[in-house]
Symmetry: C2
Subunit: 560 residues, 2 copies
Amino acid sequence: MTGVDGRGDRYVVGVDFGTLSGRALVVRVGDGAELGTAVHEYRHGVMESRLPDGVPLPPDWALQDPEDYRDVLRQAVPAAVAAAGIDPARVIGVATDFTACTVLPTLVDGTPLCEVPELRSRPHAWVKLWKHHAGQPHADRINALAHERREPWLDRYGGKISAEWQFAKGLQILDEDPEVYRRAARFVEAADWIVWQLCGVETRNICTAGYKGIRQDGRYPSREFLAALDPGFADFVAKLDGPLLPMGARAGALTVQAAAWTGLPEGIAVAAGNVDAHVTAASAQALVPGHLVAIMGTSTCHVVNGAALAEVPGMCGVVEGGLSPGAWGYEAGQSGVGDIFGWFVEHAAPAGADSHERLSELAAAQPVGAHGLIALDWWNGNRSLLVNHDLSGLVVGLTLATRPADVYRALLEATAYGTRMIIEAFVAAGVPVRELVVAGGLTANRLLMQIYSDVTNRPLSLIGSAQGPALGSAIHAAVAAGAYPDVYAASAAMGRVDRDAYRPDPERARAYDALYAEYRSLHDHFGRGGDDVMSRLRAIRNAALDRSAARATTPLEVVA
Amino acid sequence: MTGVDGRGDRYVVGVDFGTLSGRALVVRVGDGAELGTAVHEYRHGVMESRLPDGVPLPPDWALQDPEDYRDVLRQAVPAAVAAAGIDPARVIGVATDFTACTVLPTLVDGTPLCEVPELRSRPHAWVKLWKHHAGQPHADRINALAHERREPWLDRYGGKISAEWQFAKGLQILDEDPEVYRRAARFVEAADWIVWQLCGVETRNICTAGYKGIRQDGRYPSREFLAALDPGFADFVAKLDGPLLPMGARAGALTVQAAAWTGLPEGIAVAAGNVDAHVTAASAQALVPGHLVAIMGTSTCHVVNGAALAEVPGMCGVVEGGLSPGAWGYEAGQSGVGDIFGWFVEHAAPAGADSHERLSELAAAQPVGAHGLIALDWWNGNRSLLVNHDLSGLVVGLTLATRPADVYRALLEATAYGTRMIIEAFVAAGVPVRELVVAGGLTANRLLMQIYSDVTNRPLSLIGSAQGPALGSAIHAAVAAGAYPDVYAASAAMGRVDRDAYRPDPERARAYDALYAEYRSLHDHFGRGGDDVMSRLRAIRNAALDRSAARATTPLEVVA
């Protein structure tokens, strides 16, 4: 135990805001012991087809209700404290982490526009969740112009910014609902908005400002660039900018109102906002350069610290201090991972083979390559290395002898190949990746973990906590409260990792090399312009659905 | 009714030998009325993994037991006559049709080698069913040498012979079991073998000799060519050749033994052997040049008569008199059609959406293109235009929003695109295709029929009989018995067609043009050498399964 005198009976609370729910975790400051946790499911979940009042949403939209986030503070935090059985008076700090880029327009005081009564039926007034992908055309415009103008920040994002990020989402609002754009005095990451709710002070954190807000070398994209995109967009940075805080900094003190919501003491430290994936590097003791953390859930986020700046084609971004002060934090990601496995079980597995357990058991019995399949894992687009959400999934090698566990295993493998593509891009650009540290819900699938170790031919360590992000937030809360001098010391004392839990089998690793070569060749053909069929099929699909909504087409009247 | 005096109360029996069962049909000679039918399921079905005594079979094998064919004569024929309620003494002829190329090695008297006790455990002694695809390497050798030597017959088969055919299957026997090859005095199509069983006379029919036996312009491939493949193969034609009969000819008289099996009168006409698909052109009144018959079941066979000889790249074959005397009969095919839809329902559709009816109903409600998917329909390889059974299925465009009916519809459409590829190849080579006539079990799926009409932008006629092949055989029996002067007259009197049952919708046809362009581009990329990933994946699969069978690999020990 690395505690100092008196730390042993002080506590911090980490709150992790995920895609479908928020979780609070009470942690002992001295040793990181997890004492109690509680989850609150968002009442509105992810809104993909309509607003609460029934207004329909186009394809590729994904919205949330900010009131659901406040409910996490009201419900999950007191429940976690109660579950821990501690005296709330001994809690010295609270910190949060969030999905990102999840972003909302607000009034100048932080009131979400969707809570302004006359804007409640306007889709663009709501929170755009990270997986809102309808801004792809806007991202395309931003990328095209940035390439044309050789914008200096572009290479920090692998040569492409994502449709998921603040500028694409902001430009979509301006394009499609200029009034909402105009009313948005502030355009703020949910990660920063929740901190604002807790301490009453508007701040911006280095992490989302850099990875999602294109802030590099102390600057956002220039007014000239934004005006060239659209004269009305020239003022966008004014809506974004704010006092910038490094990771682990104290953003302010818990307000009376937030103390009433949470049951925590008024005035305790509230840490700067953070991102669920990035904060997990601290809980997995993986802030050391070369330790790549893969946070594997519905999607996967990869983060790794590097000692120096490198520009890696196709990564999500590199931000100085983005993971922790004094290092360059690199981020990459895969937009669909657990989501794809879940899709398969729900929509493509026949009765009798429709559980992860049964499919994994059948799939584990196969030798490498015996199913004869390769999949491209782009069911939810490709975040790295291709940064294109118009890409889609592919399966090749299907025969009449193909069985559900064959396809399931091919999907597990496809995501492992995707991770290997990312690792190889880092290594080729001079960012070392010596070790894989896996966190997230998918660590429980032993077959999947072994496949990742075999495919990447690297030992695999597992985070020692089932609540990686919430623990990571608690670590940052402890730093913000002054219990540790910095995030490194707090991570060493409070984080946990199970070193080399899986090791690659040389024979299977060799067999996977051949299959990975096929994956890479399909990846490049369909992802790098050899055949843009995926984008064309998506355009055909969207046009067909538009026409159909407009009742301009004649679907088949026949039934079988 | 086109009958002549006295025809009205005379009957013929057509017997159709399919993949899983044989069907007998009693038909009135005068007007083709179907009076009674009966089916006998083969006791051994298709043997794909082991022989009846447990001897295991490698991947891609498909065998049958000839005794199952005799059982059809013993069971189905008397049952059909009983069901018809006719006096068997009024039956004047019997004819058969068979799957092809389905072929077996026999002693000189026609005894199948698998019925020779000491050869019963030898896989190569059994009937190789049409879909036995393990001879692909042998077909590859034959094609490579034929190209090198510019063999004159090669262009009659679209530039490639199939792994399904007599020469590939024969060469595989020579390679893998030379003793069985040596003991095979005769190597005979099941279509001719069953006629031999009925009338005691060994004959060969023009249809299978041409389409499956590479007989062109009165000659088989030369002894020099065969010797160049393998010196031991030089005598292969001697095992194949025999008295050749045109379609509708009388092969002989029903023997005492066959009369005892069937309950039909000894001495009645037995027609020359025929093929299930080809014989259906007669029952659909589609012997007219330009009427393409698609017989759609587990697989699809396309046949069309042409007035002149043309060489069509990628078709199965063109044979003078192959469908009917005096015309050039063209054949093409798709190796997997209904088989693929059945695979999907059995192995890829979740509970609640796992019936053709439900999936078709959901799929029919979609506008064209709304699912955003394209599939390549090669689950069972590609017979035309690529003639490659190492190809496999592909689906592209999958997203988290993809639902089972989307994929199901994409599979229906993929087979329609495959048919359109074939039609366009015929037309481009100068073989007119004015009308599509569809026969077979899949005619019952109205959604599928409408999709074929829309995709091909042609009116679709349906055969007027649910027993197209058996009725076609009955028509040939009537000709062999002398009741009609030729197959054309018998087809006109006894066949049936429902003209233009489906018509294309111009808007849907236009929408399909764009999707078909994507299909064609993927077809050419994966099928014509742009990326041979499918063949490589199959090789990897086969090697993995081999090693696994030899216990040389380490499958994963973990389970989830």
